[in-house]
């Protein structure tokens, strides 16, 4: 109990004194996971929309794949991304292993299926007649898609929150492809693991609290946006 109180005290101390190392780690976590979420948002929504609006052979199989991908274990993603990015691996020439970019790639791989699956379901759920109506009013196909995405924005924002939440809290892939390098690829989760193994439980608890706090703030902003307009 004493340890937990110490941790909470330490967390507020680190937060209010703007401890440069902790601030750096926190900012890096937000940058990396935010960028990964943006990449996933782009890929996920576009592929999700295409699959939702088209009928083609093997469609069910593709959807099953996407749904399976929503539960991709981060360590497995980390392992494969590491193998691909090794200097002597297929993508070794990029020289991005143990860089923030590598973490962004791994996290995007984790978050993309999540956003894809949710946006697919969201777009598909819109009434079929709506599409016909939009087209009948003279919209181009592209304009129709834009309207559909706008119409599905509430579940899409939920998808963003789910994607961001899964990558900012993920540790297995980040430590494998990033290497937990001080001041460079050390993010909140990997720092927490390291401080725990160093026996600095108070710092570990403090980092954990910061992680929760920032996840909460980001989600609160997105929820605010999502709930501003009541669904019709």
């Amino acid at each position: 109990m004493e340890l937990i109180l110490e941790g909470i005290k330490k967390a507020f101390w680190l937060l209010f004194t703007f401890d440069p190392e902790v601030m750096g780690i926190t900012l890096l976590s937000l940058k990396i996971s935010g960028t990964a979420t943006l990449v996933s948002l782009f890929l996920g929504v576009s592929v999700g929309t295409v699959v939702a609006l088209n009928r083609f052979p093997g469609r069910r199989f593709v959807i099953s794949l996407i749904n399976t991908g929503m539960g991709l274990p981060p360590v497995v993603v980390g392992l494969f991304v590491t193998i691909f990015l090794w200097r002597n691996g297929p993508l070794g020439f990029l020289q991005v292993l143990y860089t923030p970019t590598a973490i962004i790639i791994a996290q995007a791989v984790i978050a993309t299926p999540i956003i894809m699956g949710v946006s697919l379901a969201a777009i598909q759920k819109l009434p079929e007649n709506m599409r016909l109506q939009i087209l009948a009013l003279g919209a181009t196909r592209f304009q129709m898609i834009v309207i559909l995405i706008k119409e599905a924005r509430l579940p899409l924002l939920a998808a963003v929150m789910a994607g961001f939440g899964s990558v900012i809290s993920e540790v297995g892939a980040s430590i494998m492809v990033g290497g937990n390098i001080k001041g460079y690829t050390r993010v909140l989760t990997t720092a927490t693991v390291m401080e725990t193994s160093r026996g600095n439980f108070d710092v570990a608890i403090a980092l954990g609290i910061l992680l929760l706090l920032f996840s909460f703030i980001i989600n609160a902003i997105l929820t605010g946006v999502q709930q501003r307009e009541r669904p019709r």
Binding site: G34, L38, L97, T99, R153, K182, M194, S197, V225, E229
Partner: protein
């Protein structure tokens, strides 16, 4: 009106992430150091890395894994320089032509730690081998790293010396974790374990696991720095590897190693050995 607000809010979030995410690309001048968890968990590399980077202009990427994995990375050309403590495996690594040079850096020692109640009654024993035999004969819980690290390799030689094969025994459990975490597990489960003194001292305050056996020459823990050979793989940063290896055995760094931890623990965590004959250490 509210619609505009949504767009404004969304763009603010998006721009925030974009701004944050921009200057993330930097390669060049990187050195990958694959090392054991003990050099990171003890905090030694946190002290040495900034000095090295300032002095040489290289960017050192430290990947803390077990010695076994560090050498596997070296053998695959995925690391430029290694700082490891698993002498038998290191010799094999060199014989296979994976390294350019292997130089002695420092040593400390391993200790056998366990619950204060000491159910196996090994406290104060002078022989690590006999202590292991006693842990086995009393069936007392022993937590092994089980991860091919230098510590794990040392532990295996101790079991071998005492003629016991612990694998699969009920009292013998493998954590598969780093030294710090294994010590924490041993503390929780009130088991014995073998630890390097550096990590042990760094974690001691929360553990409640006293040192029971120490001082046996078999418990010596020796660290070497190995430059990975660029012959097999052309992407090795041989120059950087050499710079780091030279740095580790330089007088300046050897002095830092010799005093590291004195302020915090009252005694150094590592003893500098550069340039010494390995035979003097009992190898």
């Amino acid at each position: 009106m509210s619609k505009i607000n949504i767009h404004v809010a969304l763009s603010v979030v998006a721009v925030f992430f974009l701004l944050c995410g921009s200057p993330l690309f930097a390669a060049q001048k990187n050195i990958i150091l694959a090392t054991t968890t003990s050099t990171q968990d003890s905090g030694l590399l946190d002290v040495l890395t900034p000095i090295f980077e300032k002095q040489t202009g290289f960017f050192l990427k430290t990947i803390a894994v077990g010695s076994g994995q560090a050498m596997a990375m070296g053998a695959k050309g995925e690391a430029d320089v290694l700082l490891v403590h698993s002498p038998a495996a290191e010799k094999k690594f060199m014989e296979e032509g994976n390294g350019v040079s292997r130089r002695l850096v420092m040593h400390n020692d391993f200790v056998i730690v366990g619950p204060a109640a000491d159910p196996a009654g090994i406290k104060g024993m002078k022989s690590a081998k006999e202590a292991c035999a006693k842990i086995a004969s009393t069936g007392s819980l022993f937590m092994s790293r089980g991860d091919n690290s230098g510590t794990h390799a040392k532990e295996q030689t101790l079991w071998k010396a005492s003629g016991i094969s612990p694998e699969g025994q009920k009292w013998y459990q493998q954590t598969g974790l780093g030294m710090g975490q294994t010590l924490n597990v041993a503390a929780e489960k009130k088991g014995y374990t073998l630890a390097d003194r550096g990590t042990y001292l760094a974690l001691k305050k929360n553990l409640g696991l006293p040192i029971l056996v120490e001082g046996d020459s078999r418990l010596l823990n020796i660290y070497h720095v190995i430059e990975v050979s660029p012959k097999k793989f052309d992407r090795i940063n041989a120059q950087g590897g050499r710079a780091f290896a030279d740095f580790m055995v330089s007088d300046k760094v050897q002095k830092i190693i010799g005093t590291f931890g004195v302020d915090k623990f009252g005694s150094p965590l590592f003893f500098p050995d550069a340039g010494k004959d390995p035979k003097d250490l009992g190898l």
